[in-house]
Symmetry: C2
Subunit: 240 residues, 2 copies
DNA sequence: CGCTGGATTGACTCGGATCAAGTCGAGTGG
DNA sequence: CCACTCGACTTGATCCGAGTCAATCCAGCG
């Protein structure tokens, strides 16, 4: 049975059979969650590290006004901050988007892995650095990109991440995110997002429908987004 | 001689005399940099970890259009990602804002410290988690806050961070950031930022001039910002 | 003392928000 | 099998926050 977390981590640094076994053991008893279920809420005391094995989740914040800002999308293989247990309180919530299979790693186990398994620790730190890079890209998008560029950029990011874990076929992949959720991630209104998606569709760039994204003109999408193809993958130092 | 980095780190976890000595040694040969000098550029191979001892710096990205997005402000005591050396290439640049005193910690030294000094490692991980929290707050600001709220929120953040390291007097502190730089951080135009600052000044909330921020009505500033006072400090788990 | 880069202000434009109706499709129950 | 409902998606009309363009103003300084 595939473990998408191990698959992903393994891409960052070569792991020994015992490393893999150790990770497999740590994530061997995942739990099933329904869609739209909070795994942890803002204000909660952080517990174990969450690892998404199947399905999608997101980090988000709710503002006093009631507005929601999605901070990150988590797809199979993703996990949350390694040292999260050091904080007294979550500053954001994490919620499933689709039904999901989620493993948890307790703090001591996590610490033990990071201490004793250097290769695993290295791979996981790299993964975390990539996630930070994604956050920086989001800040850049929200601050300095027009809405159509922002949408295109996010789609590039999600496509590449999905491809990295083998979830794409050709230039298409399952993207189970409602327009409302995407709008909350992109800092725009659902109405305007809808218009932007229409424009992208009419220009023959990409089509998002029935939970699936089809990129009809990758070059154009990348050009609209001003996407730096290096940003998610080639930046990683090859085994040093 | 005060070492603002140690002062800051020490607030996160109790350190032994030997821990402090070790950090002091690691940052004992800082270098002076002029203002507006890149410490490292996007595309560069990451080197040592930078530690700002005196002065201000910022992380930023330049878009193909030439627009700049500032990703973070670094003040005395701040340092960049601990595991930065794992990446093949920087995805952003770091530049001094004012003349600055910057120490560097080589990769092996950093690894050794994180390995052997558990208290130091813990404190530094907490510091990094706080920085990540700040990034999430920035994403939230850019996505879901009006410009005046965004400005107020950033000022609250900077004030608190400055206060934490003892750089404030009453409700005032040195803020050597030009309106242009602030605009690039807030995702707005300098012209509009100027108007927002004027509005905040006229409403008796705060005044930013000649490199110094004076908060005349803290309660009002917090209220405009929708600032969660917990977000930078009380979230830290007290020595566990 | 003129130069230069930031700060300030005004006039005008525009991207995206808001408000308000629909439309469409998957369930659900009669 | 069809009416009913509910949530997500669409579309049109209008408004407004923030961007753009273009002058000044001003302080530090070579």
């Amino acid at each position: 049975m595939a473990n998408r977390f191990i698959d992903k981590i393994e891409r960052f640094a070569p792991l020994g059979a015992d490393d893999i076994e150790c990770l497999a053991a740590a994530t061997s008893t995942p739990r099933k969650f329904a869609a739209r279920r909070d795994l942890i809420r803002e204000g909660d005391r952080p517990g174990p590290v969450f690892v998404i094995l199947e399905g999608w989740a997101c980090r988000y914040k709710i503002l006093p006004s009631g507005a929601r800002q999605v901070l990150a999308f988590m797809m199979p293989g993703d996990c949350c901050d390694l040292h999260i247990a050091l904080l007294a309180e979550m500053d954001h919530s994490i919620q499933t988007i689709t039904p999901a299979l989620v493993a948890t790693i307790e703090r001591q186990d996590m610490d033990a892995i990071l201490d004793e398994r250097r290769a695993v620790a290295k791979a996981m730190y790299m993964s975390q650095l990539v996630d930070e890079g994604i956050m920086r890209a989001w800040i850049t998008s929200m601050g300095r990109r027009q809405s159509i560029e922002r949408v295109a950029h996010l789609m590039c990011e999600l496509y590449l991440r999905a491809r990295n874990i083998g979830l794409t076929t050709e230039s298409q992949f399952a993207l189970p995110l409602s327009q409302l959720l995407l709008a909350d991630a992109l800092g725009m209104t659902p109405v305007h997002l809808n218009r932007v998606l229409k424009a992208l569709r009419l220009s023959g760039t990409m089509t998002l429908e029935r939970g699936s994204l089809l990129i009809t003109d990758p070059a154009k999408l990348i050009q609209i987004a001003g996407f730096d193809e290096n940003y998610l993958h080639r930046r990683l130092r090859v085994a040093s």
